[in-house]
């Protein structure tokens, strides 16, 4: 007996095929698949977008931060420089006056009135408009000359001024400055004393109207709209481009906002600070001390102007970031699409293939794993198509061949075994005795039920013996042995087949009899030469055998009694000494001219 099992590699394919079909058939499963792919697109989109955007954002933030720091440092430097330069100008203004005062203390005093000094003092008035009055003190501390723009002059007044704080103060430092006083509560004034390089030249005391620093302070521009102002040690406003503020400088309310700015900066030169100006606008301010005086020069710039480059840089960064983000979004969309499109195609392809379109091919030319995967799917589809063809062929062959035989035929790869030819065959016919009468009396359901049991039993036997089922009609059945696939000892196999048939059916009949049905079963068997081959049309094909041996077998079957198997001489010869046969002698058989020898094999009752 040859092995007729299926090819091992076909099994997984078949299982996979069923799985795919399941997925495709189950609506909800299909939805899940689609949802997952949609989720994948989202994931890709998000990941790609973030992969571009996060580094960009980090870069933007870092750049903005460093830009901000640089700009602040630049602003600090700028305001510091402006303050220092403004302080230098204020210093020059005051020391310009002291330098000129120095010319009045060059020559030693005598007791004589000094007309020349008066001329010089009046000339100094013209040169230094800020000087309101001048007092010349001689080496003894006596007032020798007082000249004023407003009041009357005093010549040789000779009052003792040696105890004047202005004189005492100047002795050690040569140049002495009083605290700022506000003339009539309005105009800031400063008293300056300059002593000569030796006691004999005396000293000069000058009253200076600080309002005139306005010319200097109003000329200082910090940036586009920034300005500078000066505070004295207690924090009163001495100089400001808005003269009306200076004229109220002695008032706490006027000076306080300016002092607040100074306090915000802290010790002069400690870097710039942000504060608010008189009108409450935010400003950036820097400070520098005036050398030689206890004054502070402050420079302020509106914050909007000071930070304009920072804002511009931030705006630039933000714009760049926004544009990059948009670009990243587009890029991510395109990439995600590019990545999920093959998956979508694969999904569609597998659905189509799953639905049975095995000729469908997934077309992906990405040159990567997706293309490999698509090719694999295509190969699989090809395999599935072959498997399906095979299945279909097997299904067809199985209609008349035993499954093993059908597989065998299929494995041979071609149908040539089914081609018409003349060969030695053993034909087996069998049918039930008295079944026609019986079927007329019993309900159709009962008839069909009985026939089902009957064919079920016969079918198992035919399959077991790998015989070829040619046809069945009603209760009759024709089986062929040795065609289309030749077997060893066909006659013996046919005889054993017939015996097995008898045995199976007789067991059934025993059961039936207990139910009151009286039927029998007979078998006819003939061996000889016959023409075998496939006949039929379109997709309906049968395998059949034609020849006298077929007729003979049918006749023998017809003449067989219940429990009998009738054989022709050739068949009997084939099993001689192998199976117990009984020679019945010659019998006249319908359709055969001469009587022919018939043999019988009875079923053992045991």
């Amino acid at each position: 007996m040859e092995s007729v099992g299926g090819r091992p590699e076909q099994v997984p394919l078949q299982i996979w095929y069923c799985k795919v079909r399941n997925v495709q058939w189950t609506g909800s499963a299909g939805m899940i698949v689609r949802e997952r792919f949609r989720g994948l697109f989202k994931k890709y989109l998000l990941v790609l977008f973030l992969a571009v955007t996060i580094p960009l954002a980090i870069n933007g933030v870092i750049e903005a931060w460093f830009g901000y720091r640089d700009q602040r440092a630049r602003l600090d430097q700028f305001l510091g420089l402006q303050a220092t330069s403004a302080a230098a100008e204020i210093h020059d203004f005051i020391y310009g006056i002291t330098n000129q005062l120095g010319w009045l203390v060059q020559l030693p005093w005598t007791d004589e009135p000094d007309e020349r000094r008066r001329t010089e003092a009046l000339r100094l008035f013209r040169q230094a408009p800020a000087i309101v009055s001048l007092t010349l003190i001689d080496n003894k501390g006596l007032e020798r000359l007082y000249v004023s723009r407003i009041g009357l002059n005093r010549i040789e007044g000779r009052t003792d001024r040696s105890a004047d704080p202005a004189i005492i103060g100047a002795r050690s430092t040569r140049i002495w400055f009083s605290d700022v006083s506000y003339n009539r509560g309005s105009e800031p004034h400063l008293t300056v004393t300059v002593v000569g390089n030796r006691p004999s030249v005396g000293a000069v005391i000058a009253e200076v109207n600080l309002k005139l620093i306005w010319d200097v302070i109003s000329a200082i521009k910090v940036g586009k709209t920034g300005l500078a102002f000066v505070l004295d040690r207690p924090g009163r406003l001495i100089a400001h481009p808005d003269i009306s503020l200076v004229l109220r400088g002695s008032e706490e309310a006027t000076s306080k906002p300016f002092r607040t700015i100074r306090d915000a900066i802290g010790p002069a030169g400690a870097g710039f600070a942000t504060s608010q100006d008189v009108d409450g606008y935010a400003i950036a301010a820097g400070a520098a001390p005036v050398q030689g005086l206890d004054w502070t020069v402050l420079v302020e710039q509106p914050l909007s102007e000071a930070y304009a480059p920072i804002y511009a840089a931030l705006w630039r960064t933000a714009t760049l970031l926004a544009v990059s983000t948009m670009f990243a979004a587009l890029l991510a969309y395109a990439l995600a699409h590019r990545m999920t499109e093959p998956i979508r195609l694969l999904e569609k392809g597998t659905e189509r293939i799953g639905a049975g379109s095995f000729d469908y091919r997934i077309s992906i030319q990405t040159g990567d794993e997706f293309e490999h995967l698509a090719n694999s799917f295509n190969k699989m589809a090809e395999g599935l198509a072959l498997a399906q063809q095979h299945q279909e062929r097997i299904a067809k062959l199985k209609r008349f061949l035993a499954p093993e035989v059908a597989d065998l035929v299929d494995r041979a790869g071609d149908d040539s075994v089914l081609d018409g030819r003349r060969t030695e065959v053993v034909v087996v016919f069998c049918d039930l005795r008295g079944f026609t009468e019986f079927s007329a009396e019993v309900a159709p359901e009962e008839v069909i039920s009985l026939l089902s049991e009957y064919y079920d039993a016969l079918g198992r036997v035919i399959t077991r013996f790998a015989a070829t089922l040619i046809s069945f009609s009603g209760d009759g059945l024709m089986v062929l042995v040795n065609a289309p696939v030749p077997v060893e000892e066909p006659t013996l196999r046919a005889v054993d087949l017939a015996s097995a048939m008898q045995k199976s059916v007789q067991e059934l009949i025993a059961g039936w009899r207990s139910r009151g049905y009286r039927v029998g079963f007979g078998v006819g068997l003939a061996s000889g030469s016959a023409t075998v081959g496939r006949i039929g049309y379109e997709n309906r094909f049968d395998y059949t055998a034609i020849g006298p041996v077929v007729n003979l077998a049918a006749r023998l079957c017809a003449s067989a009694q219940d429990r009998e198997i009738l054989l022709n001489a050739e068949a009997a010869e084939g099993v001689r000494n192998k199976r117990p046969l009984e020679e019945l002698g010659d019998r006249q058989i319908k359709g055969f001219g001469d009587a022919i020898p018939v043999f019988r094999m009875s079923l053992k009752t045991s």
């Binding site: 009046l122 013209r126 408009p129 002059n153 309005s186 105009e187 009306s244 004229l247």
Partner: protein, 300 residues
């Protein structure tokens, strides 16, 4: 377009130089007459008694700010008319002493302005005249009795004369017609020189005074540089160009919305000495080198 009410004690001809300075000041704040500001003028033409009526007329008109230049009388006339309309004054005296404002740094009320030091420096003019004529025992002083500053000036001049050790011949003039008699009186009384007190009426008639002074060969000193410019000997007083310009600035700032009580009274501290050496030569006077060296301008 905002409107400035301009109350002027004189005629446009006499006031031209001051008005020019005022326009400069307005222009500094960005206002140009006819373009973004209108000016409603009232000219008293030298008749100071008309000032209150003119001021009332201006206030009645819907002007945004009243500018009262040219002296304490103008400021006081404007102030008396309105307590709500903002007034910017320009004068020579002490606005606190005259009762125009409460204090320099906080003027208070609806008024602020600019004051030159012309009135304060009246004694200085006496000193200068004394320096020119050191041996003169008597100097003449002319005052305008209608001026609110006349008394205080005469008082200061009196004490200054005492300090200098000279006597004063005090003369009064409040109209142009009284000018000539003054000079003839000086000639009769043998006063060596004339000191003209600070008064706008005198200042605006510098040309007339200069002509009379030269005709009567009287060495004289006034507050206005117009005097030496017109042939007179000397002047010592505040710089009117600066004071009128600053009045213009203040008027502009008020039009921009600033409040008068935020604008302290500005003092024009610049006091200028102008000497006409030509006039000195004509008068046969020698001016000492120290005096010339102290002069802000010398006309040769």
């Amino acid at each position: 377009m905002p409107v400035v009410g301009y109350l002027c004690p004189e005629s446009p001809e006499l006031f031209a130089s001051r008005l020019k300075a005022f326009h400069e000041g307005l222009g500094e704040i960005g206002f140009v007459e006819g373009r973004n500001v209108a000016i409603d003028y009232r000219w008293a033409g030298g008749q100071y008694a008309r000032l209150p009526a003119l001021a009332a007329d201006l206030v009645a008109r819907n002007v945004d700010v009243v500018v009262a230049p040219g002296g304490a009388q103008v400021a006081l006339a404007a102030k008396a008319t309105s307590t709500t309309k903002t007034i910017v004054f320009e004068m020579g005296g002490d606005p606190v002493q005259l009762g125009v404002v409460d204090s320099l740094s906080r003027p208070g009320g609806n008024i602020t302005g600019v004051s030159s030091l012309s009135v304060d420096v009246s004694p200085k003019r006496l000193e200068l005249m004394h320096e020119l004529l050191p041996f003169a025992a008597k100097l003449a002083v002319v005052a305008n009795p209608t001026s609110p500053t006349a008394n205080s000036q005469l008082q200061k001049l009196g004490s200054a004369a005492e300090t200098l050790g000279i006597s004063l011949q005090v003369l009064n003039a409040s109209t142009e017609n009284e000018f000539e008699p003054i000079f003839s009186a000086i000639a009769q009384e043998s006063s060596a020189g004339l000191v003209v007190t600070s008064d706008p009426y005198f200042a605006f008639r510098s040309g007339q005074l200069a002509r009379l002074a030269m005709n009567y060969r009287v060495p004289a000193i006034t507050q206005s540089r117009d005097f030496p410019d017109s042939g007179g000997l000397m002047s010592y007083g505040g710089d009117f160009a600066q004071s009128h310009r600053r009045a213009g600035i203040y008027a502009g700032r008020i039009l921009k919305g600033e409040k008068p009580f935020d604008l302290p009274v500005q003092l024009v501290t610049k006091v200028e000495l102008v000497i006409n050496l030509k006039a000195a030569k004509l008068l046969g006077r020698e001016i000492s080198p120290s005096l010339v060296s102290g002069a802000d301008e010398v006309i040769e």
